[in-house]
């Protein structure tokens, strides 16, 4: 039986178990053997959990163990000289796996022919629709045979174990169903375990991502010292030509500067515009205007960044070049920091305005009334009471928007270019950390050269920066919340 069949069997029997458990509890209580400690559905769920859980756990555990066991078998059957060449080992293993798949397709006579060498395995496999890249070597045949033996054995074992678990769980739980049984506890605990498992997935993934970044970044730092990385002012990684030992310069500062400079312009656009529109939405707009305008502003956040990039490249960039940069004699490139900053600022307006709007609306009405009743005008109330009260939250919203800006890549590539440079002139090309990460990871990769590994060092640095901003933002927002509870 394949895993799908097993899953279907588990589902079917679990449902059956549910019906049985429910039925038994109803019958027992009907016979006056005591009132139920929980509603009948809980007894059904009790039997269901006992039926499904052990079987599922066994299925999952064995599915995880299977590839490990198989690889182990293959290695045990490979000759010494193949094992010695450790870099090719994983290739060898997958080669054997392919041969094993082929062996499952052939008929016994063909197998015999292959064994005595009358026909080549490769051509037989090809006839069955499995083209191989290379001729099959004899030791591969031996290993593949062993692999198939172990894998078939394992499959049978899985089937048997799952069926046994199903039967045991079903019978055990069914027998235990009695009116006094605390069926609710098991159900509650199972729900709890499922919830915890779900949250662990997200957390473990984050940890996994960080660890994988960290591992590669450390490898990079063993080749390039952290000091020359973090304090280097020249970004010139050179090409990662295969076999070349030439190492470029990996100065982080120009990228960091570009990131900060572009984000700065983005904030110059997004903060005032976002904040003012939030104030308008929250305090002045009638509910009709609000219900139309708010979604319209939020649409800005839904536009794909590549479209913004396009807009910057074809419209904003040339405009700034022709009407500002060239007349002032400050630059001749349509790719510049100002363009990227402006367009990115437009993109993050809704991040600022939407969050600030919620925060401003959350300021208690009693504060507004208090101020108005003292004879303050609406804008005085806004400036002197509501905004100060909302300020921490608004700052939090802005910081979240900043971390969004720092992580943005597409707009920068198209609007500011890819030249790493640290300059004060906003009409020059510059670039950011994320762009360089993409840059270093496109093309033919060799995951041992500093040219590639630097991307991971950049990645983890960026991660730390945005994480810091987010933590700061969340702390501020939380502090603000406490004020009114």
């Amino acid at each position: 039986m394949g895993p799908l069949w097993l899953l279907a069997l588990i589902a079917g029997l679990s449902f059956f178990g549910f019906v049985l458990g429910r039925w038994k509890s109803v019958v027992l209580s009907g016979k006056g053997r005591g009132t139920l400690a929980a509603r009948p559905g809980y007894y059904g769920a009790y039997v269901l959990i006992w039926t499904a859980m052990p079987a599922l756990l066994i299925l999952v555990a064995l599915s995880i163990a299977k590839p490990i066991l198989i690889e182990h078998t293959v290695r045990a059957n490979l000759p010494e000289q193949v094992l010695a060449n450790s870099t090719q080992l994983s290739l060898e293993v997958s080669g054997v796996e392919q041969v094993a798949a082929g062996l499952k397709l052939v008929t016994p006579e063909e197998l015999e022919n292959i064994r005595i060498g009358v026909v080549s395995a490769r051509s037989v496999f090809a006839q069955h629709g499995l083209p191989l890249g290379q001729d099959v070597k004899p030791y591969q045949l031996t290993a593949a045979g062993a692999l198939n033996l172990v894998s078939d054995g394992l499959d049978t074992a899985v089937d048997a174990a799952v069926v046994a678990a199903l039967a045991f769980g079903l019978i055990f739980a069914f027998v235990r169903v009695k009116p006094r049984l605390r069926a609710r506890n098991l159900v509650e605990n199972t729900v709890l375990v499922l919830l915890i498992a779900a949250s662990s997935v997200a957390i473990l993934t984050t940890i996994g991502i960080v660890l994988s970044l960290l591992f590669q970044a450390l490898q990079f730092f063993s080749m390039v010292s952290p000091v020359s990385f973090y304090f280097g002012t020249v970004w010139d990684p050179r090409f990662a030509a295969a076999g070349s030992t030439e190492s470029g310069q990996f100065g982080f500062l120009p990228l960091f500067w570009g990131t900060l400079y572009i984000s700065f312009f983005a904030m110059v656009v997004a903060v005032p515009v976002g904040l003012f529109s939030a104030v308008y939405m929250a305090e002045y707009a009638t509910s009709k205007v609000r219900s139309v305008a708010k979604p319209l502003i939020e649409i800005l956040a839904g536009i794909p960044t590549i479209v913004y990039g396009f807009f910057a490249l074809t419209t904003v960039g040339p405009l700034i070049r022709d009407y500002i940069a060239m007349p002032l004699g400050l630059g001749t490139s349509g790719n510049n920091v100002l363009t990227a900053g402006l367009v990115m600022g437009i993109m993050i307006i809704p991040y600022v305005s939407s969050l600030s709007d919620d925060i401003i609306t959350a300021v208690p009405r009693s504060l507004r009334d208090g101020s108005l009743a003292l004879g303050a005008t609406r804008s005085e109330t806004m400036r002197q009471v509501i905004l100060p009260a909302a300020l921490p939250g608004v700052v939090g919203a802005i910081l979240l928007a900043v971390s969004r800006a720092i992580g943005e890549t597409m707009i920068v590539v198209l609007a500011a270019g890819v030249a790493a440079r640290a300059s004060l002139n906003p009409f020059e090309e510059m670039t950011t950390i994320t762009v360089k990460i993409v840059n270093q990871l496109t093309g033919d990769l060799e995951f041992t050269s500093p040219q590639t590994l630097v991307a991971f060092a950049l990645g983890i640095t960026l991660f730390v920066i945005t994480l810091g901003l987010n933590v700061l933002a969340l702390t501020i927002v939380r502090k603000y919340r406490e004020q009114y509870e």
Partner: protein, 272 residues
């Protein structure tokens, strides 16, 4: 009794003011509608100067609504419409030429729940004077703040921590801070909507004492659910019921000798 009859043929039972104080606020046939719903069906009352007038009545009868008409706070509620005449010192406050900001500086308000701004105690009290430019110098402002806090009998409790946030005070202190804040703009009238409902008996007693002192300089209108409070602090009492002003008169008269059966019933706790 149908609603139509109630709104057209309705007479408030009035007992005149024996002290014969001058009239500060005069209202005639004030009606308030929230959207389609009429909440007040024509209220006419004269409120005397430098005295405490209490509004009593069962929940939802329109006391707060009427109070909010007097400083036009109903303007801030979407869908609220006010008809009729309200005059402050013979000046129509719903006159289109009238400046609402100025009106609210003359008619202050204290709310049911203390609502200090999340600013320092000093800045809370200084808020109004700053907005209206009442102080010419820093010393001036300080003096206004100190006298207001003194008048609100709060100064001694907070004099060492004027720069601490007003939200850090106890509920009763916060409410007195709000009263000080209202006094600081030297209004002529102070409206109070259940100012003690969030306070314990001790804090309540302090605020009541304060109201009694303030009466010498301000015209005070207070909404309350406590008969004892109305009896203790007010000189005149007005009883509202279902959007009508049923009876108004000198407090001792209304409490000992109500002329209307409904007033009698409410005061003795038979309904509401």
């Amino acid at each position: 009794m149908s609603a139509v009859q109630a709104t057209t043929a309705f007479d408030t039972v009035r007992t005149p003011d024996p002290a014969n104080r001058p009239i500060k606020i005069h209202t005639a046939s004030v009606k308030v509608t929230y959207g389609q719903k009429e909440a007040l069906h024509g209220v006419s009352i004269d409120i005397p100067e430098k005295a405490v007038t209490a509004f009593i009545g069962p929940s939802g009868c329109g006391k707060s609504t009427f109070l909010r008409c007097i400083n036009r706070m109903n303007d801030t509620i979407a869908g609220a419409r006010v008809e009729g005449t309200i005059k402050l010192d013979d000046q129509d406050i719903y006159d289109p030429d009238l400046d609402v900001v100025e009106l609210r500086a003359r008619v202050g308000m204290v709310f049911q729940k203390p609502n200090p701004f999340p600013k320092s105690i000093f800045d809370n009290v200084a808020y109004g004077p700053r907005i209206h430019g009442l102080a010419r110098s820093k010393a001036d402002l300080e003096e206004i703040v100190v006298t207001s806090l003194q008048k609100a009998s709060l100064f001694n409790e907070v004099k060492d921590r004027l720069s601490e946030p007003g939200t850090g005070l106890s509920g009763g202190q916060q409410q007195r801070l709000c009263i000080a804040r209202a006094i600081a703009v030297s209004p002529e009238v102070i409206l109070m909507d259940e100012p003690c409902s969030a306070l314990d008996p001790i804090a309540t007693a302090k605020v009541e004492e304060l109201i009694d002192e303030l009466r010498a300089n301000f015209t005070i209108v207070i909404v309350t659910h406590s008969m004892q409070q109305a009896a203790r602090v007010s000189q005149r009492t007005a009883f509202f019921h279902l959007g009508h002003l049923i009876e108004e008169g000198p407090t001792d008269h209304v409490f000992t000798n109500p002329l209307e059966q409904r007033t009698q019933d409410y005061i003795t706790g038979r309904f509401g």
